[in-house]
């Protein structure tokens, strides 16, 4: 009996040996080493007690990292789970559910590096390059926000106009009944809107009016006289024009028409400076600075959702398919509406799956590294910091403070402890049943 038990033990050991050696040497020993190392100084020479842990919560950059991890844990798992649940429920109502699943789930297969490159490109600031800001600008101008924008326009020299910190104005004040023209240069040809027409002389001004024309004083091909409205010169429509009284109040305001003409009405006897406000010449609405410090974490979380919502969807969909449908049918026959069926029957039956998804995502989010390492440009890296990135930075990426690095690694380990306990509990319960 003793001999056969020993034989059994040796056989088991034979099957287990490679795994045990690797786990003991490359996982268990390193955990102990890191715990001990976290109480030693940067180079490891001196015992420093809890210093590294104190530093972790007092140092600005580590504290930002911890704060961002809290934001991640609060937002990302909930967002992925809710989207996954929504997709999984709606999936059952369409015929092309397999295709939909593949599309949503596909990002799970690719590296976070590739996903990071993708999102960095999408959220670039220039609306000419980043698709998100391109869409934002398109939507903005579709809803009438698109004021005419003539970035870089300056007055033609010797035309009696000055550029006063972005405001273009006549050098001298004029009185009602006279004319003030604005020949402008320095515009990119593609900034002239398609609605622009041939520039034309303004109608002569009435007694309480000042009139004039704003035009691009350049003829394509090079002909024409400087400061004259020649054939081929384009009017600049939509430019805002103010008549400014001596005390600085705006007496009248209007916009140019397609031929660049304007008429300022209801003016008094005094002299007015005619001014084109600076808002005409800025870049117009250019979208949002997504990759700036303020929004960078939101963008990275979005990229995370793009990857992991598919995971939640697949897990929840398989949970749904395992549910006994007769309960739902019975409730429907009793006159329950879809929302009641979902909230009273489907959701409670799904809760075990939802918990598994949620816990998995929390563990995963705590350790997030690649996306945060890849997406932010240098200037917003400090604002995007998370614990795993900070751990890499201080111990390998130039910091070479492996004491603090070890403490950060142990912090991550402590943060996943609750989910370890949940895993062990679940295992024990399954054993019992």
């Amino acid at each position: 009996m003793g001999a056969s038990r020993r034989r059994m033990f040796l056989i088991a050991l034979g099957f287990l040996a490679p795994a045990l050696v690797l786990l003991a040497g490359l996982v268990l020993y390193p955990i102990l080493y890191t715990v001990v190392r976290s109480f030693f100084s940067a180079e490891g020479g001196a015992f420093v007690g809890w210093d590294n842990y104190v530093t972790m919560f007092t140092n600005d950059s580590t504290f930002t990292a911890i704060r961002n991890n809290v934001i991640w844990v609060l937002v990302a798992p909930v967002a992925c789970t809710v989207l996954g649940l929504l997709f999984a429920v709606l999936l059952e109502k369409i015929k092309w559910s397999t295709a939909f699943k593949l599309i949503i789930f596909m990002p799970m297969a690719i590296s976070m590096l590739a996903a990071g490159v993708i999102f960095r490109g999408m959220f670039q600031e220039s609306p000419n390059l980043g698709v998100v800001n391109a869409a934002a600008v398109a939507v903005n101008s579709a809803f009438g926000g698109g004021d005419a924008a003539y970035p870089g326009a300056t007055p033609r020299g010797d035309s009696g106009l000055i550029d006063d910190s972005g405001i273009l104005a006549g050098e001298t004040a004029v009185t009602a009944g006279s004319e003030q023209n604005f020949p402008l240069v320095g515009l990119r040809a593609d900034d002239v809107p398609t609605s622009a027409a041939q520039a034309e002389d303004a109608a002569s001004a009435g007694a309480d009016q000042i009139t004039g024309t704003v035009w691009l004083d350049v003829v394509v091909g090079g002909d024409g006289t400087v400061g004259q409205i020649d054939d081929g010169k384009s009017g600049l429509p939509g430019i805002k024009i103010d008549a400014v009284a001596a005390d600085g109040t705006i007496a009248s305001t209007t916009k140019t028409d397609a031929a660049g003409r304007y008429v300022l009405d209801d003016l008094g006897k005094e002299a007015y400076r005619i001014a084109l406000p600076a808002s005409n010449f800025d870049e117009g609405y250019q979208g949002v600075s997504w990759l700036s410090s303020g929004l960078i974490t939101a963008v990275i979380i979005l990229s995370y959702i793009w990857i992991w919502a598919g995971f939640a969807m697949v897990m929840i969909a398989s949970g749904l398919s395992a549910i006994d449908r007769s309960l739902q049918e019975a409730a429907r026959m009793d006159g329950a509406n879809e929302w009641k069926v979902f909230s009273r029957i489907t959701a409670p039956l799904l809760s075990p799956v939802l918990i598994v998804v949620f816990v998995t995502l929390i563990i995963n989010v705590l350790k997030i590294f690649d996306l945060v390492y890849v997406i932010p440009p240098g200037s917003s890296k400090p604002a995007a910091n998370v614990i795993a990135v900070e751990m890499w930075t201080v111990s390998f990426g130039g910091g070479s403070n492996q004491g603090l690095g070890s403490a950060l690694a142990i912090l991550l380990l402590i943060l996943v402890l609750p989910s370890m306990i949940i895993n062990v509990r679940k295992f024990r319960e399954e054993r019992k049943s």
């Binding site: 056989i11 690797l22 786990l23 890191t34 596909m106 000419n128 698709v131 897990m315 795993a388």
Partner: protein, 292 residues
Amino acid sequence: MSDLTIVRGKQTAAQKILAFFGKGFVNFLLVFVAIFWLVPSVGLFISSLRTVGDSASTGWWTVFTTPAQLTVDNYVNLLSNTAITGSFWNTIMIAVPTTVLVVVIGALAGYAFAWLQFPGRDWLLIVVIVLLAVPIQVALIPLARMFGALGIFGSVLSVILFHIAFGLPFAIFLLRNFFMQVPAELLEAARIDGASDWRIFVQVILPLGGPAIASLAIFQFLWTWNDMLVALIFTNSGSQPLTVAIQSQLRQFGSNIDVLSSGAFLSMIVPLIVFFAFQRYFVQALLAGSQK
């Protein structure tokens, strides 16, 4: 089933119209979501087919109006770039041995946990389950030191060892659960015939565990192929995989967009092929309880 038809028959015309529009709305919404989910990958792919100059001045969506700007130049350049082709090869050299060894070592241990009696089995299994969620960060500093002392720091081998160690808990747990579902009568019959545990493992368990092993292999392969953090620390310029080679171009995002986009797409091709060919197994591995 007949009850169901009767209920359907009682639907009023108004309900039918509502149901139809409800369905139409769901379809519309999900088409919208699907497009939303596709845009990022499509954008990257199109970007990889444009020159740096085009990418610096206009967005990728302009190809829909001027398709003439499409070119495969970036890929031609990429394939003649020895740093990239070398790193592609390194990625394979890391991912394939890791996958094979995790499956083999995990299957051996999984069999022991499922079908062999030995003292302390449950406690050992609990250790494995605890290790499932351990963040790799706790091992980075000590293993960098250890591999340095062993003289393998900076080699492909060091990355392989790291991934095997951290892949094993999941492998053991997954395979043990699957192997336990093999009917006990089959093993009993083999034992009565005088088969050793080794023969049972090779001739009964492995063939029946095929789908589980495939699930694990695909999961582990994608995990290792896509890793950046471990390779970032443990490899040098001669042994680095694709992910590390590509991230080094990130500092100048705009001027390196040609290498970044085509390189990122190159790194995606193998996982995408594996994913579309074997997604059933991949999903199975996730369902079997992923805590990684």
